[in-house]
């Protein structure tokens, strides 16, 4: 059984059908990068996976459990599926430590007295242990994004979703975030990324998914797809982002 099973998923916003029958499997330990032009439905698909958007048709299962916005244990599911956003979405009124420990403490994952140790541990994994008492606005964009990743890691997720996490960063800050993600990949974290970082897609990902007009247009081994795209759409896309 795949960790994530997506079957014939359809999603419309008003009269615009954004996802037109997506079928995709993600195995445990997979690093799946989803690429495609703006408006191809990449981010919507990612948001559907943890029920930030409701799907109109089809089904999504994570660890065998069917996902729906009104499922009774949605919160428990979300504790197992971390998502990192393009705009970081740190809580500006809380320190880095509290950003990280808020959810683990409130959901009973970790006792309050051990929360700081947990924060230090996950911050060390993203190379920011010295920023534990900082406020989000005192950090650079890259550091904020790493804290956002640490905040997800504190929940010990089984799956991590990344929604264009480097798109809002200055070019010189992209590398530090990608490095953290590469480390996570090496440690066996299952990850699904929507990204424009072709280098990452080519060298780190285990699977590449090219979306076009709301469909999975091509998918497979990244090296093979980059070297020999089967469709003119992927060929054009690759040459346009080179």
């Amino acid at each position: 059984m795949a960790l994530v099973e997506i079957r014939d998923v359809h999603k419309s916003f008003g009269s615009v059908e954004v996802l037109k029958g997506i079928t995709l499997d993600v195995e445990k330990g997979d690093i799946v990068t989803i690429i495609g032009r703006s408006g191809s439905g990449k981010s919507t698909l990612l948001r559907c996976i943890n029920a930030l958007e409701t799907i109109d048709r089809g089904e999504i299962r994570i660890e065998g459990e069917r996902i729906a916005a009104d499922m009774p244990n949605l919160r428990q599911l979300r504790q197992r599926v971390g998502i990192v956003f393009q705009a970081f979405n740190l809580f500006p009124h809380l320190t880095v430590e509290r950003n990280i420990t808020l959810a683990p403490v409130l959901t009973g994952k970790v006792p309050k007295e051990k929360a700081r140790d947990l924060a230090l541990d996950v911050l060390a994994r993203v190379g920011l242990a010295d920023k534990i008492d900082a406020w989000p606005e005192q950090l650079s964009g890259g550091q904020q994004q790493r804290v956002a990743i640490a905040r997800c890691l504190a929940m010990s997720p089984h799956l991590m979703l990344f929604d264009e996490v480097t798109s809002a960063l200055d070019p010189e800050l992209v590398g530090e975030v990608l490095k953290v993600m590469e480390d996570m990949a090496r440690q066996g974290m299952t990850m699904i990324l929507v990204t424009h970082e072709m280098g990452f897609a080519r060298t780190v990902a285990t699977k590449l998914v090219f979306m076009h007009q709301g469909r999975v247009w091509e998918q497979g081994n990244p090296a093979e797809l980059f070297a020999d795209p089967k469709t003119p759409e992927l060929k054009n896309f690759i040459s346009s982002v080179k």
């Binding site: 979300r78 504790q79 740190l90 959810a103 989000p136």
Partner: protein
């Protein structure tokens, strides 16, 4: 005829107590209702939003003086029992506070980006935890200046309770003025007391704002 003396001043301060009681009552009863209205107005459930909007339109569309009259003269008619002036006036100020403060707080809640709700939801927090720990503190910060502004208005507007004979600061001033025929002096003292009551609030608000901004 006598001149304005210490006894008049004491009676003003004694009546000031009732002004403070009215404000405290309005905040204690109107504050929770305001929060409820703000949450209803921000709710995902449409009938709750409609209900809150209806209450809001109704109460905001009536002048405070009208509310005071309505509850003071209306409560005995509709309830069939005489109610103390404090109760009638208290209910009017509670309604007034609930809708105006509710709108201020709704504005604060809705000014927090939707992505903050999403980020909190994605961490597995309940809807209430999302509000309590993520949205409310940010909304509070944004709503603080208008909230204190409203509080100052509320203090000053308690003077309207004098029209139904409730003896608070303004009414005590009226009585002292009638007894001494020194309206300018008496009302100047009354105004100075209102000012002394409101000034610390605005100063405190500014300090709190600066502290909260400094804490980020």
């Amino acid at each position: 005829m006598r001149t304005f003396n210490e006894a008049d001043l004491l009676s003003l301060f004694s009546a000031l107590r009732w002004t403070v009681v009215l404000v405290a009552l309005a905040l204690a009863c109107g504050g929770p209702l305001a929060l409820m209205l703000a949450l209803m107005r921000s709710s995902r459930i449409a009938p709750l939003r409609w209900l809150a909007a209806g209450i809001l339109q109704l109460v905001q569309g009536v002048p405070l003086l009208g509310l005071l009259m309505f509850f003071y003269f209306g409560m005995p008619v509709f309830l069939g029992v005489e109610v103390p002036a404090l109760v009638a006036v208290g209910v009017a100020f509670t309604a007034y506070t609930a809708v105006f403060l509710g709108e201020i707080w709704r504005g604060g809640i809705q000014a927090v980006k939707q992505t903050q709700w999403e980020a909190a939801a994605c961490l597995g927090l309940t809807r209430w935890q999302q509000f309590r720990y993520v949205i409310a503190p940010q909304a509070f910060r944004m709503a603080l200046p208008p909230t204190v502004g409203f509080l100052v208005q509320l203090i000053k507007n308690t003077s309207l309770a004098s029209v139904v004979g409730f003896v608070e600061l303004a009414r005590a001033g009226q009585m002292a003025s009638a007894a001494t025929f020194q309206p300018l002096l008496v009302y100047s003292v009354v105004a100075a007391i209102y000012f002394a009551l409101c000034l610390p609030l605005t100063v405190w608000s500014r300090k709190l704002e600066a502290r909260l901004n400094g804490a980020r």
